[in-house]
Symmetry: C2
Subunit: 346 residues, 2 copies
DNA sequence: AGGTCTGTAGTAAAGCTTTTCGCAAGCGTT
DNA sequence: AACGCTTGCGAAAAGCTTTACTACAGACCT
């Protein structure tokens, strides 16, 4: 009913100037106590709230951090989002969430929108196919965002080098895969299937890399026939495991590229009567919350997703004077041992 | 390096007025072809993007919808968020996500922030403790948001009546619980434990309500000793199931208030050697994506979370002329049968 | 020839807050 | 009594875009 009141209305009601109202509200400038009280009463009576856009119009950026991800339902991204949101709130920022479904066009749109919004920070999270097109795109984003006063943050994906004007927050992805594979090797497994994600996707490639280094460090050859690339969701894990089983490939353990793949693989194994872990051991990656409910409980690699999100925001919002805007941090991972791996004869 | 260019710079470069640039950009007003080209070239050369805040300052609202939830990591909320985000994108809106951790103070803050932002719509999602304080709070929110030109949407929580100025998008929560309980009853179970959430929480209360109506409709008494209230996460399900087992309460089936509770209950049952479903049958609620991976796969009630989110945005963003702003829609639920319920002797 | 459209484009105001600058009053100092 | 500092507050500009209004040229009509 009532028109939304403006600062002018408050000023009139309190019998002061707009400037005084503004000063009372931001509280950064001395105002006589009695004046302050009058203004605050007027604000309450009119139920006045400032217009964030008018405020942002003046400053360099608005108090918003944007999270850009492929999708938001899988635990991996949901937990990054949770970390971003929490830290954003702590830093008195709002949290904007955009999904791209891994579509570069959509991503371009989103980054432009964020420039329009003058977001403090734009956090691009999750693995990518890291080709020339990607690097060129990122270079343009970085330029545009820098001009707009925004910080660009690469989260859960590789850095583009110390010269690239972006903050990077990664996790020990190769290391986690190395540890997971080593866990299987020390349990006596030799023929370890790796059911990875799409070729070229950084997250998956790094996990394959860790798998390779672990085998090599253990003095074992890397058999390309044991590495399967493809869609890395439950369905992909299921289909490829069925196909591998049908093809007669011999293996006693599976290293799944993520827990979704692991769940599909476990379903496939059960369908053909292979027991876990008696016949086949399996390790997943990401340690989704329900990994403990699997049959059997799934050994997996814990990734500090919330921490990734929090750190991204923390670095992006710290006062620019003390920040280079090119920080690079690496967070740790570790294997969470449950019941899906069996020791076999040395 | 370059200062962010304004529309004035573009106008100067193209040799036209600011108004013309604005018109080329919004495309709602005839501009001569050659002029348009000049402007577009200037825009490209300067890499100009409009200032969303200056634009919003002019209009009544900004193109933003806000989702306010307790938390964002559990599949229930993550999927609502996904639906909201998708539909927001489709409606050319940005999606702001805020969490309250079920803290009314935090909620109050968030709603004020949304008023400052002049969001098109504010979607409050998830169950609540519906007392007088809550209703009074909502009334204030509704008033404030209406004045600010925003729409208030209640999502996955009960309507506050047809007179209340809010859109409501619910799901058949009582009905789903009724169906789940009936599913157990028709399988021959008589002593059905209900492990519910906190007393007063609408989502939980409605599920208890469905449990009761199903028993009654089946001609069975409702035994209060079989209804357990408490925290409804995995931990709560585990603890309470252990306690109930220790107390010697007799039951052949469990209706869990949600899948988190169900997973905890299943863990507890396994620990004491009760087999599922041979000794105890169990049905969950929400049908989280990994329910199929449980041991055994969990029969659960499917809730259309994405659809709840999409519908909330759809109703809130449709042109006001054709919308009353008090729509009330109810989406369906259904039982997804898997392997956690066993038929027992009639 | 004078008048009415039509198509383009410029002018200026509106929208709301923050911030710089300046002014005035009070008070202590010299 | 003149001076200068502090405190408190107002006037006005800046920040950027949209839009109602105005203006003008040429086409078309009568």
């Amino acid at each position: 009913m009532n028109k939304r009141p403006s600062i002018k209305d408050v000023a009139a009601r309190a019998g002061v100037s707009m400037a005084t109202v503004s000063r009372v509200l931001s509280g950064d400038y001395p105002v006589a106590d009695e004046t302050r009280q009058r203004v605050q009463r007027a604000v309450r009576e009119l139920d006045y709230v400032v217009n964030a856009h008018a405020r942002a119009l003046h400053g360099a950026t608005s108090k918003v951090v944007a999270l850009v991800v492929a999708e938001v339902t899988t635990p991996f991204f949901a937990r990054i989002a949770a970390g971003v949101e929490e830290q954003a709130t702590e830093a008195h920022r709002l949290c904007l969430v955009c999904t791209t479904h891994a579509d570069p066009d959509r991503e371009l749109d989103v980054v432009r929108l964020m420039r329009e919004q003058r977001a403090d920070a734009v956090i691009l999270a999750g693995g990518v196919v890291e080709n020339d097109d990607y690097r060129e795109r990122m270079r343009r984003y970085a330029q545009g965002l820098e001009d707009a006063g925004s910080r660009l943050v690469l989260c859960a994906r590789p850095s583009l080098g110390p010269d690239f004007p972006a903050i990077t927050v990664e996790y020990e992805n190769v290391g986690g895969a190395h540890a997971a594979t080593t866990h299987l090797l020390t349990a006596g497994h030799r023929d370890i299937l790796m059911i990875a994600g799409p070729v070229g996707l950084t997250t998956s490639d790094q996990r394959v890399e860790g798998y390779r280094t672990a085998l090599t460090a253990y003095g074992r050859p890397v058999d390309p026939a044991l590495i399967s690339h493809g869609p890395w969701d439950r369905e992909g894990g299921y289909r490829r495991t069925r196909a591998l089983l049908a093809s007669g490939t011999r293996f006693t353990a599976i290293f799944a590229g993520n827990d979704g793949v692991a769940s599909g693989a476990m379903a496939a194994l059960r369908e053909v009567g292979r027991r876990i872990p008696e016949d086949v051991s399996i390790v997943g990656y990401d340690d989704i919350p329900n990994a403990v409910d699997f049959n059997p409980p799934l050994t997996s690699v814990r990734v500090p997703q919330e921490e990734l999100g929090r750190t991204a925001v923390k670095l992006a919002t710290q006062r620019s004077s003390e920040a280079s805007g090119r920080e690079h941090v690496m967070l740790g991972t570790h294997v969470v041992v449950r019941g899906s791996v069996r020791q076999i004869g040395a």
